[in-house]
Amino acid sequence: MSTPVYIFKRILQALPLLFLISLMAFTMLKLSPIDPLAAMRANPSVSQAAIQAEEERLGLNKPAPVQYAIWLTSTLQGNLGVSTTGGSVAIRLMQHAGNTLLLNVVTLFFTWLIALPAGVYAAVHRGKFLDKLFGLITAIGMSMPTFLLAFLFLMFALATHWLPIGGMTSSDFAERDTLSQILDIAYHLIIPVCVLTFVSLAGIQRQVRSNLLDVLRADYVRSARAKGLSEEVVIYKHALRNAINPLITLLGFEFAGLLSGAALTEMVLAYPGLGRLTLEGVLTKDMNLVMASIMLGAVMLITGNLVADLLLKFTDPRITVE
């Protein structure tokens, strides 16, 4: 099957899945006992008419199936609706998703930058001091809750005043010039990126190491060595290339988690990301907002798996997609 046909088929398969997800998410939200207009109702100075107008605007006065139908048609037309607090869901989602994406892409970059060489080194120098040290660090990393690490970094920042305490920008951000704004964001990204990198590093380093160890035992590696090839060529040209496949699947998973993986870290560090926005949405029963962010997360997950499968086909011609 040619690649475009395959992609088309996968997208077709994803559509009923997305429909099912939206139905589940909608049911979940409708079951929640939170009243989105509780604050307005509790305020005696807000008139009945104003509340009714608000219900009308948010479509809350219609039966649930009708609400779902309205949501579905407007979403299919590309209109994500309005948020309870006013303003377009699409714009709010874009801002926050952008922040989360920035954080996670930087994390992904550093994770692989460190994990790949560290994994290769550990596999080649198996049992040596550094391998054991990496083993210990990854064991800690795999068990470390992100929020605990975030707290520890916050304490470090409080003690030294070298790093900002949470947030994404300084208070005078708007008055700065572009270069200084970029530097300010980078400065605020240090803690969240360190936290997330440390935690996700562990799994990938272990995976690289164990894949490479498996491959280094293969017959063709022995043949390559017997031919008299240098150790570098054996490892980087023969072994590593064959050990890369499971890592690509892993990369697909990581891509899928780009938007939702860092939610707790974002909340602890007061980073204005999608996780915090979704939590706010759930707590105020902001239907359009929560539906949109859940659907966005699901689309990312499905896309991530598809991208991983395509990458696998690209890197390994033995694999055929079907």
Binding site: A25, P33, P145, M155, L158, D214, L259, S260, G297, L301
Partner: protein, 375 residues
């Protein structure tokens, strides 16, 4: 040793017992696994006997010492000589200009730390009425080894009561999620065809919702005004709900290959009903994977519970859980340096997960050498 004259026959039961024996002894030989097993034993023991081991009950509060720092244990008397530990009561003062609370010791009378004292009454294991505490001091002095929270409750004691929630939720979750996951996966794999297809699409749909969003969405569904044990039970159900599909998918894959094995086909051909066949022949084959997956799944439950409670959707006050105790740290990050004990529950979560992961790793090496990946 007296041995029977007849040659030993290895009955299936015997083989099973031997296997169990070797698994446990091989784990015990591994230093890391042994340390982790001991660590977990201590944690669960502390949670089980929390009432005895702690000086105060979970809801005991002294509003006069809200946010008080850890009680100082003095071991020198007035002449500077070593003596049995004693404490002073503390007094709270508010600085009128900075609005900061300060605490100072009232050094008029010493209150020695007593062991096995009578204190608040409780029911040990929910059954035996008792009022004995491992240690404590006389009122009005307080022994708060890790300081007080904002309501004047003892953080140290609450860590033990929090452990009861946080540590059991992992296992309770397993008992719900695993039977569902295993049976669902086994059914889908065994029946095959259209039913398999539909069942797996549904599992995929659950898996395709980012788990944290699903978690907060489901937690928001919980009705307000439930009792704490109802809430605890429902949160366990929620955690199970997001974790069964992954297991079901793997089990299905395993069942697809197991059902082609001769012994399953043989049982089928002599007329064994399908459900019996699945339960008796197919599911037991997945046992070693399930055991490993279970060990590695407990940390996820613990993490999910603490994450939920941390953002205020999980276990609610006045109940303690490690997650909702950490909430204090999240709400007042600027106090982290002056009250570093606020993140103590985080370290306990870390330690618990480390133990489970270490045991899971060793268990994998022991049960399934194929999976160990050259370690």
């Amino acid at each position: 040793m007296v041995s029977s004259a007849a040659p030993q026959v290895s009955t299936p039961a015997r083989v099973k017992a031997d296997l169990k024996h070797t698994i446990l002894s091989r784990m015990w030989k591994d230093k890391v696994a042994r340390a982790a097993l001991i660590g977990l034993f201590l944690l669960y023991f502390s949670a089980l006997f929390a009432d005895v081991l702690t000086p105060y009950g979970m809801e005991f509060n002294d509003p006069n010492v809200g946010n008080a720092p850890a009680t100082l244990l003095h071991i020198h008397n007035d002449n500077g000589e070593l003596c049995l530990p004693y404490v002073y009561p503390v007094k709270q003062e508010n600085d009128p200009t900075t609005y900061r609370q300060t605490f100072s010791e009232i050094k008029t009378a010493k209150y020695p730390v007593k062991f096995l004292v009578k204190g608040e009454s409780y029911k040990l294991l929910g059954l035996i009425p008792m009022d004995l505490h491992l240690f404590g001091v006389d009122s009005p002095a307080r022994i708060y080894l890790l300081g007080a929270d904002m309501n004047g409750r003892d953080n140290y004691s609450r860590l033990y009561f929090g452990a009861q929630k946080s540590l059991t939720i992992g296992f309770l979750g397993l008992f719900i999620a695993f039977p569902i996951g295993i049976f669902y996966g086994a059914m889908a794999g065994y029946i095959g065809g259209m039913a398999d297809n539909l069942m797996m699409r549904f599992a995929e749909a659950v898996m395709s919702i980012p788990s944290f969003y699903l978690l907060i969405g489901l937690a928001a569904v919980l009705p307000l005004g439930m009792t704490s044990s109802q809430r605890f039970a429902l949160i366990t159900v929620i955690l199970s709900f997001i974790s069964w599909p992954g297991l079901a998918r793997v089990i299905r894959g395993m069942v697809l290959s197991i059902r082609e094995e001769e012994f399953v086909q043989a049982a089928k051909s002599v007329g064994m009903p399908e459900v019996t066949n699945i339960i008796k022949h197919v599911i037991p084959q997945t046992a070693s994977y399930v055991v490993i997956a279970a060990t590695l799944q407990v940390p996820n439950f613990i993490l999910a519970e603490s994450g939920l409670s941390l953002i205020g959707l999980g276990i609610q006050q006045p109940d303690a859980s490690w997650g909702n105790m950490l909430k204090a740290a999240m709400d007042q990050p600027n106090e982290l340096l002056s009250q570093p004990w606020l993140i103590a529950p985080g370290f306990l979560i870390f330690f618990t997960i480390l133990c489970f992961n270490s045991i899971g790793d060793v268990l994998r090496d022991v049960l399934d050498p194929k999976l160990s990946g050259g370690r």
